[in-house]
Subunit: 353 residues, 2 copies
């Protein structure tokens, strides 16, 4: 029950979701006085929720290392509810670092090879929505991790955006094979040789994100985070300029009134709230991060992402594809080990002579 606005937004977001999906049941973790005050206004939601009280909560600026040492916080309780199977998904607008650290500690990663969750996001583009990952969890990523992101991103996009065989692009600074740093070139080579059942498109660039060239764009968490925040900042800048333009004189103001409904429809297409709900991928359980500043409508979108994942075969999908990938690596590793043994034997032979 975190985020910048607390229960006023999160409880209200749950009510909005319930209007569309009346079969959902909610556990609301946090301060029962504040939560019940909201529920009192929402009898339909009240009938379909249970409040799990705690007066402990993780602050927005709390260090993850500190958060994981505390017991009975609303955040850790909510994640434990997923671990125990009482809930199918946890949705939080709270502290991202703490959410990630606690989720990893409580739920564990899907496989031992995965180091930490990748954060995905839905990116508005010309054709609807793309999926971009990682947007912040891993500041560096080797080729293996980039391929894991591709597999997890494809499973997420299939589950939430309904594309059966989503196309995958690797974010780079050009489209030729020689472009980019070692990690991205290595991942590109591996994906070209063995697509692991993926619909691999090749390299894409920053301009392709909004153009919707591919369904899923894969990158390391540093580049992905900078790209996401740059796009958000650019959109906000243009929106502000547009507002100023429409206020610049009586003719412009009249123009804005006349074009009002068309402009509103357009603003909806790029509303960050409409794409709210970033999954933490690779965990044994569904964890969704909402923007801290989300309003009730945006928070309900984040819940809907959790619901879509819960209703799909997404976890099985990821486990299977990661296992397939891991197996392909084992084959390569034993081939490589075989070659090594051969050369070792030759070297030993040399010594005898």
């Amino acid at each position: 029950m975190g985020g910048d606005h607390g229960p006023a937004v999160t409880v209200c977001g749950a009510a909005l979701l319930l209007d569309e999906h009346p079969a959902v049941f909610f556990q609301l973790h946090g301060d029962e006085v504040r939560i019940n005050a909201e529920l009192a206004k929402l009898p339909k939601l009240k009938a379909r929720s249970v409040v799990i009280h705690t007066d402990q909560c993780v602050a927005m600026d709390e260090k993850p290392a500190q958060a994981i040492r505390r017991r009975n916080t609303s955040l850790s309780n909510a994640i434990h509810a997923v671990k125990s199977g009482e809930a199918r998904a946890v949705i939080s607008a709270g502290n991202t670092g703490a959410l990630m650290a606690l989720s990893k500690m409580i739920l564990k990663m899907m496989t031992d090879d995965l180091e930490r969750p990748a954060i995905g996001c839905s990116w508005p583009n010309k054709t609807g929505f793309g999926t971009v990952l990682d947007v912040g969890a891993n500041v560096t990523s080797d080729a293996r991790q980039l391929i894991e992101f591709a597999l997890m991103g494809a499973a997420f996009h299939r589950a939430v955006h309904g594309v059966k065989k989503p196309s995958i692009g690797l974010l780079n600074v050009g489209s030729e094979d020689v472009k980019g740093h070692e990690e991205v070139r290595e991942a590109h080579k591996l994906l070209r040789e063995n697509t692991l059942g993926l619909n691999y498109y090749g390299f894409v660039e920053g301009t392709d994100l909004c153009a919707g060239t591919v369904d899923v764009t894969v990158t390391d968490g540093f580049t992905g985070n900078v790209a996401l925040k740059t796009a958000e900042g650019t959109a906000r800048f243009i929106k502000d300029l547009l507002k100023d333009a429409f206020k610049s004189g009586p003719m412009a103001m009249l123009g804005a009134v006349l074009a009002g409904s068309a402009l509103k429809a357009m603003a909806k297409r790029i509303d960050p709230g409409a794409s709210n709900g970033g999954p933490l991928l690779g965990l044994k359980g569904i964890v969704i991060k909402s923007h801290g500043g989300a309003d009730a409508r945006a928070f309900s979108n984040a819940i809907r992402v959790g619901l879509s994942l819960a209703a799909s075969g997404y976890e099985r999908d990821i486990v299977d594809s990661l296992a397939q990938f891991s197996q392909s690596l084992t084959v390569e590793a034993s081939l490589a080990a075989g070659l090594k043994e051969t050369s070792a034997a030759i070297a030993a032979g040399d010594k005898v002579n």
Copy 2:
């Protein structure tokens, strides 16, 4: 005389620049028939230019390795003119990779420590323009390179955007000291300890680029290139949505007509042409890259950037600050070497006993 549109745009761009700066003199390198055809329409420019003919030109998709082996291309001739001192700056809308490779080969880097030029760009923001670098030359950058970018970016911003002591930010995924990968954290530490005369602000994020939080934003060429292209793609996406919105019905169309002049003024603020002209920093000579698809007005902006640099003390400025930085590293290195000798002496003493 390259770019997507050839002499029609570049010659015309030179004429536009001449209207504002009548004392400039031009060398126009390329096919004299095509260039003279344009000059025939522009008598004022014709009187202030000389055409250096060649029928060799570097293709837009030519590999840099191939381009540097060819002689007498319009691109290499133009760079040689800067080398010989006949011209103060070269401006090209052609092949970026070839421009960089040829410039490095012909002009050489300002100091032996610099590996390759960094590409800077002017970034429209709330306060006017910021400078961002590197936007594509170096796919990885260590801490030392990031600091070199900071020094060169500050010199460029001072010369072109007239800010005496520009503020510098390091692009990262958060503002705390622990955020980001090793290279960015190390550069941050060094800049905090010894600002080398820079007005160092600290870490900035993607949202800060358009917000104009700092004057100069420093990043590696991979992240910078992705950020730049993501911003361009986002701006284009919103522009297209806006166009569609204004065409969506008679009321919206009327609104667009009424708000027309205000919208045009706004579009000018984010027009990529207004910020056209990316310097290749760190070379012994002024080299400016124009967008390949620039129109005449945008190309004239790229020439103006070259002119501002030529009229400023920018080269001296960079050489001095790089020397100061190099000296500070030498001091650190000899301190470190001193420590090493001490420990070596102790180890030798151990052996004797």
